[in-house]
């Protein structure tokens, strides 16, 4: 088969790390090739080089057999390479078609030929089965559809090779299935697709071949049909990984968190949490499943005092925490792993030891009077680094110099070290690699076994299913149903997450959108 892309001996050095070390990668025409690796392994770096965002120190890139020099994304687009980033780059109050033609608008005299644009977008959209209305406004359509707009954008620019960076991170199970279909359609048209991911399940279902990168170097390229999840995990992490979470049956203790009729607004002042009722007991992990944007973030913020609630009742550990300050809520025994570790969880330019006491910096022995005791702080930080296996040269480096997984480990370490009665973990493993996920899961289960209440909010259904003892599904700001783990299946949860009910037969799911 024809090689559309060949990268030979690519080496990229960032200050202090070798992001890509003599990497070889090739892509065949009409194949879906997964680039698999842990976070910080260098997959995105490699693709950014291909897309012209970075320049390699060494190595050559061939497109359809010709040596090329790609120094800007424009070069890449001219060569038929398109990239869809993890974070979409769309103008929110523009229509789909307006976003797609941005920068290469078809003109009629001095005016933009909007009719032509709409027509063309519709054509491509139908060709690949996207089902997208060109005149819809971006902010009105779902995240999954926005992603399709991004793909369309690349196709409209004549992309023959599509790079999708972590495309499934924001999608529901149903949307992931649809994306799969789209990728198959693209293949049929002879397009080649590169998927960057660290999710093994998707690799198996979506790809033809897999190239695995570990610490900047390729550890293998295998055909998907000839491999297994376990083999891939091993190639990716470099050791045997335990993919299933082992846990004993839960021993329920007293009620820790009780929420009654909670209501809260989002930033725009629209209701985000709507009459929410929930009780969490000690010794259990309660998972909140739901599609992004159904009020989970606001709910967690209200619980932890970062957002003012509108009405309702929250009791933690028999103490009223409704509308109280974050400090008070922390003091009644709440640990919080925030969903955005760089915005909330860490002060990036603070050193690790300064970060390791954020929230407990006023407590003994870290401070006395107003004077910080940095000796104790460092000791505490070193303990966390050792106990939680945080990979860092020392506690003196800034938090921003750590990889995402290690940043998250630091936060988890800090929150667990607060010895909380209730541990709220919001997206605790988002964007992390298998190794770190395994570890963080283990620690969460440990907390549960120690009799703590763990409230797990996650968009990853697999994570919810793996960890939870009970699963609450959040839809439109409400808890629509709570299932026992034994009763829950991916399908049932999928129905609930999309706003359906379990009274109907699951076959009626199709109409639920």
């Amino acid at each position: 088969m024809e090689k559309v892309i060949e990268m030979k001996g690519i080496t990229k050095i960032f200050p202090g790390t070798v992001a890509n070390d003599n990497v070889n990668f090739e892509l065949l025409k009409g194949e879906t090739h997964v680039l698999l690796g842990e976070n910080g392994a260098g997959k995105t770096t490699l693709m950014n080089i291909l897309y012209g965002l970075y320049k390699q120190e060494k190595g050559e890139i061939y497109v359809s057999g010709n040596l090329v020099n790609i120094s800007t994304p424009n070069d890449a687009i001219k060569l038929g390479i398109g990239m869809v980033h993890q974070h979409f780059m769309l103008v929110h109050n523009f229509t789909v078609a307006q976003n797609i033609i941005l920068g290469i608008e078809p003109k009629k005299g001095f005016k933009i030929d909007m009719d032509k644009a709409n027509r063309e977008v519709k054509e491509i959209s139908e060709k690949y089965g996207f089902a997208i209305e060109p005149t819809a406004v971006i902010e009105d359509i779902s995240v999954g559809q926005q992603q399709r707009v991004e793909i369309l954008k690349a196709l409209y620019r004549g992309a023959e090779i599509l790079i999708l960076d972590e495309p499934t991170a924001v999608l529901t199970p149903k949307e992931i299935k649809e994306l799969e279909t789209i990728i198959r359609n693209l293949e049929k048209e002879g397009k080649s697709v590169i998927l960057i991911t660290h999710k093994l399940k998707e690799v198996m279902s979506m790809s033809d071949r897999v190239t695995i990168i570990r610490r900047g170097a390729v550890t293998g390229t295998v055909k998907t049909k000839e491999t297994s999840i376990d083999e891939l995990a091993q190639l990716m992490v470099g050791r045997k990984v335990n993919l299933t979470v082992e846990k004993n049956p839960s021993v329920i203790r007293g009620e820790i968190l009780k929420i009654e009729n909670l209501c809260a607004n989002d930033q725009r002042g629209l209701p985000a949490v709507n009459n929410l009722n929930l009780t969490v007991y000690g010794g259990e992990i309660l998972g909140i499943a739901g599609i992004d944007g159904n009020g989970q973030s606001e709910f967690v913020e209200v619980l932890t005092g970062l957002r003012k609630p509108k009405s309702g009742k929250i009791t933690i550990n028999d103490k009223n925490t409704y509308g109280k300050s974050p400090r008070y809520i922390m003091s009644v025994g709440v640990g919080h792993i925030p969903e955005d570790r760089q915005k909330r969880g860490l002060i990036l330019t603070y050193s690790l030891f300064e970060n390791s006491v954020l929230g407990i910096h006023k407590k003994n022995p870290f401070s006395k009077g107003i004077v910080m005791n940095y000796k104790e702080v460092r000791k505490h930080c070193d303990e966390l680094i050792r106990e939680f296996d945080i990979r860092t040269p020392s506690g003196d480096v800034t938090a921003e110099s750590l990889s995402g997984g290690n940043q998250q480990k630091l936060i988890v370490a800090r929150e667990i070290s607060k010895d909380p009665e209730l541990l709220i973990a919001a997206q605790p493993t988002r964007g992390l690699d298998v190794g770190a996920i395994e570890y963080i899961h283990k620690r969460l289960v440990e907390e549960r076994d120690n009799g703590r209440a763990v409230l797990l909010v996650s968009l990853e259904l697999d994570e919810i299913l793996a960890l939870s003892d009970r699963i609450a599904v959040m839809y439109d700001g409400k808890i629509v149903d709570i299932l026992k783990r034994e009763d829950a299946t991916e399908q049932k949860l999928g129905v609930l997450m999309a706003g359906g009910t379990l009274q109907q037969t699951p076959k009626g799911v199709k109409d639920n959108e």
Binding site: N39, G40, K43, T44, T45, N48, L53, Y54, H85, Q86, H87, D165, E166, T304, L306, S325, P326, R327, M330, H336, P338, K343, R344, G345, L346, I347, L348, T349, Y350, E354, L358, G359, H361, K362, S367, I370, V371, M372, Y374, D396, S403, G404, G431
Partner: protein, 368 residues
């Protein structure tokens, strides 16, 4: 052995980091002088080949004007003292992510408050000077806390409020001096402060006085406060990432008000010591004292490090006090402002470069 090595490494690291932080300010100073020399050549009618003699002239005159003899040295010291105060004041605000343009106004109120307290007769000199400084501290602190409060509770931007309050403070000071019994009738100034309120001068006839030690102590104290205490931990956290600070149970509003009050208080103390040591009375104000805005430059050059402010205040103070000598020797004194301006432009560029490189880095990291 390994302990020793560790210590050694630590020392090398510290040295390297210090060099790294110092590199850009030093670079900008060098560039600014490089450029300024051309203007010296122009003013003196030198040809292009006489670059180095022009450089020599400039350096020689700045040194002569700044430290050439005891008299000018003391003038320089009395210039440096208020700059340390206003520089540190700005640095505190910067560290909390705030821009206190109102240092000039806080300085004025510190001066007026001190001048009023200074006229009280019959006090022990030590108590009297302490009271005066305390008066400046409170007046400046309140004047800084107001825009801090407005920022924290109402969300109005501190830059706008402090600029406006600069003019209010000037008008208020002039009102007190010209229209109330605190001023001397017909003299448009306050009466001289009591002997007991005057700070000890190094030599008679020069404004240089012991308040420079106070300035240095304040700078060191603020350094300690920012890097070794809870107060500093919280102020800096709010300055870097208010979201994370809030998450960590840090009261953002409280810290903004505190940082502004502290910034104002330091400026106020600067004003108070200026009256107690140098001026001995306060004349009505035609314009805002330049120390306030120079303080911004001092803090910028010092990268908001209070101890660095001492060095950068020394530089700016020397430049200011040498301007007369330059003028007398045929070099326009504007050269001093030129040097200062270029330094600031370069230091600001450093901030901009950092801002963009951080942005770029973030873009790269989120996709991982």
């Amino acid at each position: 052995m390994s302990k020793l090595e560790e210590k050694n490494n630590e020392f090398i690291n510290i040295a390297r980091n210090t060099l790294k932080t110092l590199a850009f300010p030093l670079f900008s100073i060098v560039i600014s002088i490089f450029v300024a020399v051309f203007f010296v050549m122009w003013a003196k009618g030198y040809s292009i080949f006489q670059y180095f003699s022009a450089l020599g002239d400039l350096f020689g005159l700045i040194f002569k004007g700044g430290f050439g003899n005891t008299r000018v040295t003391f003038v320089t010291l009395s210039e440096v003292t208020p700059l340390i105060f206003t520089g540190v004041a700005n640095a505190v605000a910067f560290k909390c992510g705030l821009f206190n343009i109102g240092v000039a106004g806080q300085f004025i109120l510190g001066m007026v408050a001190a001048a009023i307290v200074g006229t009280v007769p019959g006090l022990n000199p030590i108590i009297h000077t302490i009271l005066m400084i305390l008066a400046g501290f409170i007046a400046g602190g309140i004047w800084g806390a107001i825009p801090g409060y407005l920022k924290a509770k109402v969300g109005t931007h501190e830059v706008i409020n402090t600029i406006m309050m600069n003019y209010i403070s000037m008008a208020l000071a002039n009102f007190i001096i010209l229209r109330t019994a605190f001023g001397v009738a017909g003299k448009s100034s306050t009466p001289d402060i009591q002997k007991s309120a005057q700070l000890h001068r190094f030599v008679t006839g020069s404004g240089a006085n012991i308040s420079i030690f106070l300035a240095i102590v304040v700078a060191i104290f603020i350094f300690w406060l920012l890097w070794k205490t809870i107060v500093g931990y919280e102020i800096r956290a709010v300055g870097i990432n208010p979201h994370a600070a809030e998450y960590g149970g840090i009261n953002i509003a409280k810290n903004i008000i505190l940082a502004m009050a502290l910034s104002g208080a330091i400026a106020g103390v600067g004003g108070a010591t200026h009256v107690a040591g140098v001026l001995h009375n306060v004349k009505d104000f035609m314009s805002l004292p330049s120390y306030g805005f120079d303080g911004i430059a001092v803090a910028l050059l010092a990268k908001s490090n209070p101890i660095g402010c001492i060095a950068s205040a020394l530089l700016f103070g020397t430049l200011n006090s040498s301007s007369r000598t330059l003028q007398l020797n045929g070099i326009p004194k504007e050269i001093v402002y030129l040097i200062q301006a270029i330094i600031i432009i370069f230091v600001a560029t450093d901030y901009i470069v950092k801002y963009f490189s951080e942005k770029k880095k973030k873009g790269a990291f989120t996709n991982e």
